[in-house]
Symmetry: D2
Subunit: 361 residues, 4 copies
């Protein structure tokens, strides 16, 4: 233990080090990257051996992020040493380019970017303004939402870690869509903390602009929309789901609530709230992190945890189905889900490193 | 000018006092009441002569609310002196009971409570848990949304000042509904600052609970729902509008954004965004406070002002109509709109006392 | 009145336009500049005729700042038309350079930068890293704190508008220092909202970094320190005041509270709180904006107003004098005080355009 | 694992249950109590067996605090089953009364209240308005600041867990005072999140009042003052330290920064910052949670962790020593420190259950 560091439990870790996998993070300096470092450092089956960053290369990780001083790691320009798996937190396009050589070396990858989330290469120019540099990998990559694709995640070398908004929306709507209970025309109204926009400085995330403010955006079409549509359509028996998605930024650091609206098909869900609850409980029965709640959740109930809290109801006056879905956007919406995917890929307990209870208040 | 007070411009006011109307506020100690005091004190055609409150009776207004120290007013248990108009910020039911004797004396009233907003007495037991004490007044009262009912407001003795959520939602949807452009099944997803819940202490508005949090609520049916339905149905050519309304509390003090979703009727709105804009501009052409925006507004753009900022769009992928509507819930959503109603009732310039530009940032 | 603008009361203004002075703002796009625009637009004796900005030149003011859409102004690269007074919100050094030609044309100037606040040219290289381009003007410039220098402000062509921290600290300590009541070794511990750091993007003012955080800074010496020292020393009979100043950024948009600590000289202030209050009341007796409070003020009590709220006490256990001083950093700490200075320079009522009560809550 | 619960790792725990101590929490429903439950639930050497609460008795813990649903615990009116140690989170006076019978049964106690923090029974009527019900225990109780009293904590049955402000201030000033380096007249200016005021509803902690606000308070003498004085005086070679303490509430949920001001004695600390750093590093060399920083810390660097981050400097212009001290008020300032004390009392690794890295951002 170092006097300047959080007690690291280093001795115990050393004993197990030979059984641990070796992990690297590319571009540790964004919020997803630094959250990965926090979680992986505390993971019992992992040794975090290398973290990279461009502008901060050469600095100690603890110099840039004082809460990680105990790791003793130095940020390097390139990955160093042998690694079994890499988390890529690079920007779109750069990530796809950077991942190919890793896969060629037999290193498994969890990609935090959108570069392998969409199945059709043609969607990348349309939504992300670039031609996909490795379209052949799109078929191999697995969309890393364990609740839907656990079996495929077990066997893949490349996980496309889902976006934060899609995670909340898809988990919220999956039971309804998969069972063909609602009209294929849903609305997702999401409210997110500002950390979802990352650590890059922008005027809308300047404190004086974002505080005391709610800002709807992406009304012309947000990049997370095709991801939601793709996954929900794949679930739908008729493959026809249409999604209207409007995100909003609210003055908090972490958290997303997606309020999802759907219309029951004729003669469906006649059993009301009771039937709805049973459907959700059954659908997520064995899930370690996705919980159906008996009272309406709030984003605060997820802070720092990998939970997704769901609350389905039938609106009293209109009969419309409303599903509230809450996550911590940096955990279940990013780094936590990435670690959950890694756990599945390597056969670790799925909850390893992710047991932390939410921080409250 | 008093050394302890904001310069009051008192001398000038005295000169005009004979031309001014005399105003009272019942229950000045809530957020709507105190905001009324702030606005009315600065209103050129008004003399604020009496403010009441129960627990604070006997105290100086400036003792409870230091920013109003300059008024020199004392909170009393009952209205004192002659008044031409009273703003009632009493709780539901108490307000209806307290207003009747005022009307009988010929005093005009703007009621901040919901007691005269609903047209049907039968709805009060259902939504507000009380039998209406003055059902005969429900027909006389005018729902105080100037954009829809200006002519009737001019002639009434009793204005039912609209709720904050309904103000934002109705102004957002009125053009679509009145012109019969959308299916009569709309969704209103609202995000509000905590001041809408008032100054009464509750756990959900305790700072440590409300900060870093978004809290959906009212999923079982919020009291502002019948108000929205009533007004939108009245506008609709077929009188059949159904409203799904879900409010959320976000960690800011003031502001509401309502994101409204509707589906264009077949063969309607084929002109796209351009047609939509024209419809909104025309509908609100002469309105002093309701503005159609060319870029998406944020709640911060309304802080402290009586503005309602609207932004209608057609969602790229789904063709659904989305309308963003922003207000300051304590101004256009409460006290400011009440003063606007008073201005109309007394023939003052409609913007008198309400000219303040929004505070930014 | 334009349907897209806040009602401007334009007709009445036009009638008086010939009696109004013509005002320009250089660099309107920072928080001080845009707050000047808001206040000056509503000022009865002023016509805001020209606003400049570099990167935004050519845009409508309302395009960049929607709350100012009603002004109809366009941001230009250079001042346009005749102006009687200019508010310079340029950066340090650039402001001094830009102001000289204005003064040479006989245009009066209120400078929002620090370029004319310090009396000694030698301090600029030391604290601001540049050689002063117009040292001869330092003697002509008047430090624009009306409570201390009103008579000189009346006669000057060039006002150096005080910094936000110094305004709060100097007003808090002036009575004690001027009357020689305390040891000449004071501590100023200030807490500021983030808007004081301006609209320029920085990591510490990124929302996710600044929220849920208190950040002490400037421990190596903040640029507002020499300004405080200079003004307090000038007041001190012995000219020997030493100031320890530590600023902190707290997660709010506007507001500063400076908590000032001083030690009574032997045999001074033996009359306790009562004597202390009397000293402060007498010192600020005729001030329109600086108020001595009977209960401890909070920054919220000043929001949007030009008030400075003071609360002097004697600490129960130690006898140390503590003075709490609250302002809105963008009003009394910047734009409001600048307008107050203009009012004094032109013989307008000192409170003209500054009568707005604080916004609460 | 329950589908509604966070994965609990229950199987592994059961295996070890026989080696674990059994723990109870009295009054789990305040913020200190619920934070104790969160930490203790995840503690490897502890079985949390009983939690009490008055108004919530009979409810599931997860019903009141959804983030603790996984514990499966029910809140009871009285402690149930055998316990080895109890954490009392009762209010002042009630705690002292409730603890006596526990001690008589041989149960060890960590008291979160102030009831055993002060050494002199006479101070309780003066500062807490009650006559101490068990003055004989004041000598037995140990003030639970491990950095100062670790050896005594090891042997005691009763730990008085320190207040949040005193924890930050005493750790900040202890090296200076103990080594006799500064004049015995120090100033502590503290800024705290609102959770320090607890879960009880009050107007100043109502969101709309606390947001966008800094509120100085306790200027007439805060209850944490005698605690600071007692501990600093005990350290001081001359036993004469006088403390001026002014707390402020800032709009964040968790975190305290205490900015401490002291004056070096003549001929002391002539070695400047370098000497100062060495003194602090040496003083806290072996401490697992108290870290001396190389750059100024912020409260955000401690969120959710048991760290105390210190930064001593010498003010450039005045030579005054300034020490910044940051903690999470609910962890090192309450529940975390209480668990640290328990670890010491039972011979567990001092960091057991407290290894979590801070949450950022």
């Amino acid at each position: 233990m170092d006097r300047r560091g959080v007690p690291s439990g280093a001795p115990e870790r050393m004993d197990n080090a030979m059984n641990k996998i070796r992990v690297g993070i590319i571009n540790v300096t964004g919020y997803a990257g630094v959250e990965l470092a926090r979680i992986l450092w505390q993971h019992p089956d992992v040794e975090l051996v290398s973290v990279t960053g461009r502008s901060a290369a050469g600095k100690k990780l603890g110099e840039v992020f004082p809460h990680l001083a105990c790791t003793g790691l130095t940020i390097t320009a390139e990955l160093e040493g042998r690694v079994d798996i890499v988390f890529s937190a690079m920007a779109h396009k750069a990530s796809a380019e950077g991942i190919v050589p890793l896969l060629n070396k037999g290193i498994r990858v969890v990609d935090m970017s959108a570069d392998f989330r969409l199945r059709e290469a043609a969607w990348y120019p349309q939504w992300y303004d670039f031609d996909h540099p490795a379209p052949e990998l799109l078929k191999k990559a697995v969309y890393g939402l364990p609740e839907l694709h656990r079996d495929r995640i077990k066997k893949t070398e490349l996980v496309a870690n889902p976006g934060c908004y899609p995670t909340s929306a898809i988990l919220g709507l999956a039971p309804l869509v998969k069972l063909g209970l609602v009209e294929p025309d849903v609305i997702v109204d999401s409210k997110s903390g500002t950390s979802g926009a990352g650590r890059t400085l922008t005027l809308p995330t300047h404190f004086a602009e974002a505080s005391d403010n709610v800002r709807p955006y992406g009304l012309g079409g947000h990049r997370h929309l095709p991801e939601m549509s793709q996954e929900l359509e794949a679930l739908d028996p008729q493959k026809t789901v249409s999604v209207t998605f409007v995100p909003h930024v609210v003055p908090m650091t972490r958290g997303i609530v997606s309020t999802c609206y759907a219309k029951a098909k004729a003669s469906k869900l006649t059993g009301g709230k009771e039937e709805l609850d049973k459907i959700y409980y059954d659908f997520y029965r064995d899930e370690p992190f996705t919980r159906v709640m008996q009272q309406c959740p709030e984003t605060k109930h997820t802070l720092g945890s990998n939970l997704c809290l769901l609350y389905p109801v039938i609106h009293q006056k209109t009969g419309r189905v409303v599903v509230v879905s809450c996550i911590d956007n940096l955990v279940k919406g990013a780094a936590g889900q990435a670690v959950q995917n890694m756990n599945i890929m390597f056969g670790f307990p799925e909850t390893a490193g992710l047991e932390a209870l939410p921080i409250y208040p």
